[in-house]
Every structure is written in structure tokens, then in C-alpha cells.
């Protein structure tokens, strides 16, 4: 790897870290500064001034905003997210029981949807204008333009209600056999796959079509190349950047956008935890979840960026 490339990569990593810092400041501002006095908020309007003052002391609200932010950030970096305002457990404990469930769901979905989306997207781009392409395009437009809960609803109606193949609800906690696990996972994974496949497929198709319309493709065609060579050897390598980006976006959706799906299937993941946290206004929990999701998003986007850089010969081999 050249020094130039190394600098470029280091720059991207630095930018991601900077973004994360800015995001943390924003999260802190929205949750801890803008809404006003947290102590009054928590104790309600009728609380005695003494009680409020005591809680203010305990929460460290007497200090200036930057100092509070610095303290908060310092604890965050050490993995200390504070205590839940509702359940009396530490936020870390709550998260550690849920995070593996979410990651498992994401991993299974990714393993199925990424190859499926890429293959279908490439086929649709190659057979642009054919009945296959039209059907796929219509299907994906329909899926990305309806809410996830509708996709989930239809999946439940078809597979659980009509065909009675699968249970409508899943509880990842009492999984004892592989079969049970499959059955518990099936509905959420199916729903998530529909959505992520549609997202990635659309972007893969668009990125590839963009390349297939470039003049160099006509040149390759006029060398007598077959369609397969045209796509696999020429167009696809140039579309890696945008495709990696599409995959990263969809995967980040898996980290955070599963909220609705976890709720509808009652799946005990982090998103469900966060929604409950929001409903109960459990600020430390919400802060922690947001920071985790944002960090995940930034890492994914950075990885996609790096893929794009490494796939681009202009950056790999400078003049």
C-alpha cells in the first residue's frame, strides 16, 4: 500500500471519529441540555424544592454544560453508560442481555439478503427492460415505499395465518433446538430480508446500469465480448464503490431500522429496548442505544468508503 493510500485511509478513519464526537455532542445536547431541567422533569411539578435541589446535586446539574458533557463523554468512553432511570439496572447490563439477540438477527438476515440482493440486482441490470427486470423493479418499489409493519403484516397473514407454517411471534429467549430457533427467527428474518433485499437490489441495479451505459462498455462490446464478460470483468469492478455503499446503508438499517420489526414480533433485541426506553423517557438508556447505533453506522459507512477507495485504481495508482 502506498503512503498516499495510507494517508487517505487514515483520513477516513479520522473523519469517522470526528463525526462520532460531533454526534455525541448532538445527542448530549438534545437529551440533556435542550429539554430543560432534568431534575424537575423527573420529579414532576409538585416536588419540593429541597428534593429537586438534592437530585440536581446528585445528577451534577450544578456544573456548566461543557463540564457535564466532558464527564458524560469520559464515562461513555470507558463503557459506563450510567444507570437506567426506570429499571434500576445499569444500562450496560440491559444492553449486554439484548445486544447478542440483535446481532444474531442482523447476521442471519445479512447472510441471506446480501448475496440474494446482489445476484438479483445484477440480473435485473443485465436484462434491463425485460419482464424479469420490470417485475423486480415493481416489487422493490412496492416494498421500499410501504412501511415495514405492512410488510410484516402481510408476511404474518401469508405464512402464519393462511399457511400456518410459522408462529406469528418469536421469543429468542427460549430456544432449545435448531428447529425452534429457525421457527423463531423465520418471521423477523423474512420481513427484514424483504426490506433489505429491496433496498440493496435497487441500488445495485442503478450502479451497474450507470456503468453499463458508459462508453467503454460499447468498446468492449465491439471487441466481440459476451454479456457475461461485459458485466463481470468490466462493469462490476467499477460499480464496487456504490454497491458497497448500498450494502453498508442496508446493514446500518439492520442495526437500527429493525425497531418496527422487533416490536411487531416482540423480539427481545436492542431496538425493542430503546423503544421501551423512549416510551418511559429513560434518557441514559436512549443515549446509550443512540450512540451504539451511530457508532455502528459510522463504522459501516467507513468500511464501504474504504472499499470504494481500494477498488478505485485512480486512488490506488496515482499518476
Amino acid at each position: 500500500m502506498s503512503a498516499f493510500l495510507l494517508r487517505l485511509v487514515a483520513r477516513r478513519v479520522g473523519l469517522a471519529l470526528l463525526s462520532l464526537l460531533l454526534v455525541s455532542a448532538m445527542v448530549f445536547a438534545i437529551t440533556a441540555v435542550l429539554p430543560g431541567d432534568a431534575a424537575t422533569e423527573q420529579l414532576g411539578q409538585d416536588a419540593t424544592p429541597e428534593a429537586v435541589a438534592a437530585l440536581r446535586e446528585q445528577l451534577g446539574l450544578g456544573q456548566s454544560v461543557p463540564v457535564r458533557y466532558a464527564h458524560w463523554l469520559g464515562r461513555l468512553v470507558q463503557g459506563d453508560f450510567g444507570r437506567s432511570m426506570v429499571s434500576d439496572a445499569t444500562v450496560s447490563e440491559l444492553l449486554s442481555s439484548r445486544l447478542p439477540n440483535s446481532l444474531r438477527l442482523a447476521a442471519v438476515t445479512a447472510a441471506i439478503s446480501i448475496p440474494l440482493a446482489l445476484v438479483l440486482g445484477i440480473l435485473a441490470a443485465v436484462r434491463r427492460g425485460s419482464w424479469f427486470d420490470r417485475a423486480v423493479s415493481m416489487g422493490t418499489v412496492a416494498i421500499v415505499s410501504v412501511p415495514e409493519f405492512l410488510v410484516a403484516t402481510i408476511a404474518v397473514l401469508v405464512f402464519a395465518v393462511h399457511l400456518r407454517w410459522l408462529p406469528a411471534l418469536s421469543y429468542a429467549s427460549d430456544i432449545s433446538s435448531l428447529g425452534q430457533m429457525l421457527r423463531a427467527f423465520a418471521m423477523p428474518v423474512l420481513t427484514l430480508c424483504c426490506v433489505t433485499v429491496a433496498q440493496m437490489l435497487r441500488m445495485t441495479r442503478a450502479a451497474l446500469i450507470d456503468q453499463l451505459e458508459a462508453p467503454y462498455i460499447e468498446m468492449v462490446r465491439l471487441k466481440g465480448a459476451t454479456g457475461a464478460r461485459l458485466v463481470l470483468a468490466h462493469a462490476l469492478p467499477n460499480a464496487i464503490g456504490p454497491i458497497a455503499n448500498a450494502v453498508a446503508l442496508s446493514m446500518s438499517y439492520l442495526l437500527g431500522g429493525v425497531i418496527v420489526v422487533e416490536t411487531i414480533f416482540n423480539y427481545p433485541g436492542v431496538s425493542k429496548l430503546m423503544v421501551d426506553g423512549v416510551a418511559q423517557r429513560d434518557i441514559p438508556l436512549v443515549q446509550a442505544c443512540t450512540m451504539i447505533f451511530c457508532a455502528g453506522y459510522l463504522v459501516l459507512v467507513m468500511l464501504a468508503d474504504l472499499c470504494g477507495i481500494l477498488a478505485n485504481p485512480r486512488l490506488r495508482h496515482r499518476r
Binding site: S19, F149, V156, A168, L255
Partner: protein, 283 residues
Amino acid sequence: MPAIDVKPAAAPKPRRRTRRLGALGLLGIAILAGWLLVALIGPWLLSGDAIGAAQVFAPASSAHWLGTDYLGRDMLARIVLGARYTVGVALLSTVLACGTGILLAMFAAASGGWIDAVLSRALDTLTSVPSKMLALLMVAAFGASVPVLVTTAAVIYVPGAYRIARALAVNIYAMDYVAVACARGEGRLYLMVREILPNIVGPMLVDLGLRFVYVVLLLASMSFLGLGVQPPAADWGTLVRENIGVLADGGVAVIAPALAIASLTIAVNLAIDSLAGRRGRAR
């Protein structure tokens, strides 16, 4: 030398098609217009006792075309009333987001330098919070109410609108006709309003449509989670949530509002697809 005759160039221009929207595009526009009308005058369409309680989860009948909900209220009436929240709130947020985005983008493009850099960086940071996360965060901090929801959705979609509008504006700013206006001595305001804005409004209209779909989906999801418009007001997402109990039986009370959302978003998609296609062909 004779005057140059302005005949349509006889040289063939390949692939220029007639300018028509196509049946699907017209259908999309018709559905969209229908929902807008319902949102605008819906409450006056209903007779006074339309909402009145009856049997719970009644199936579709001549009295209740879409059956009744979990409290025995007429579903059709609920959907008509819900249109105001779903369509209205989303439209307001979208216009707010795109308007702000375009203004900031033109300002950034015309200013350049550090103003452009700082604006772009700041808005980029906003995009690194996934949209639903930001929405949840805002609701956690400020509670769920219509003003909070409108602001939240607008804040979430400003960066996207800004990014597209800025790319367009920067491209146009590099055009020679802007240089001509600069060399004539025109001020920044003239450049923004007369030279740049007319050329980005068209493409931004398509973007506005897409963003409207995103906002509808976001707000519907928030309502579905119980974190959107709060009762007694109800948008279509809320209606799905309220009646989710009959999902296992395939009840019309849960399917109807879900389909209402789908019809709105798909209609917008069809409309902008044909509009964008027409633009692309006409170019």
C-alpha cells in the same frame, strides 16, 4: 446573407419520445390528488354520526364500508379523519425540509469557501444518525406532539435535500451563464434567485416527492410504535397499531389503514417516476 431559418432541425434526434405521463403516472397523480382532497375537506364529507359506536370489529357492511375498529368506530371515517394527520404533517415537514435545504444549499454554493465547508460538515453529521434513531431521540427528549414531529421530520430530511440541492447548485454555479451574469456585475441575490433557483426547482421536485414518501413512512412507523401523533388524534399508523389485535384473523380494521398508507406512497412513487422519466426523455 439571408436570415437563418428556424426550422426544426431535420437531423434526427434518436430516442425522443412523446411527452406523456403514461397510465401509471396518471393513476399515481389521481390517487395523490384524491388523498390531498380528502385531507383538505374530509371532515365535511362525513355525516355527524359517522363515528358513533357500534359493534366492535364489525366486518365490512353497507353501514360501515370498512367495518369498525376496536371501539366500534367506523373505520372509513377514522381513515378520512386520519388523512389530515398523515398527509398534512408529512407535507408540512417535507416542504420545510426541502425549502430549508434549498436555501442553505444556494447560500453555500454562492458563498463557497469556509461557509460552504462548515455547513456541509455540520449537515453531514446529522446524517450519521440513522433517521429513526434521531426521531426516537427527539421524542424521548421533547415528547410526542405534532410540532415536535414536524420539526423532527424536517430536521432529519434537511441534510438529504441540502446535499442534492448543493450538488445541483454547485454545478450550475460553474456554468458559463452564471459567469456571464457575474461579469455583468449582478449581485449574489440575482444569481441565486434568477440564475440558479429556476434550474434546480425541477430536479428538486422529484426529490421532494421521494422525501415525502420517506416522511410518511417515518411518521407511520413512529405512530405504529405509539410514539407519533397522540390520541385522541390518530393518523393511519396509529390506526394500524390500535387494531393490530385482529391481524391474526386478517381483519379489515388493520388492513385498511395499512393499505391507505401504501396507496399514498406508491402513488407518489408512480407520479415522480413518470415525471422524472419525462424530464429525462425531454432533455
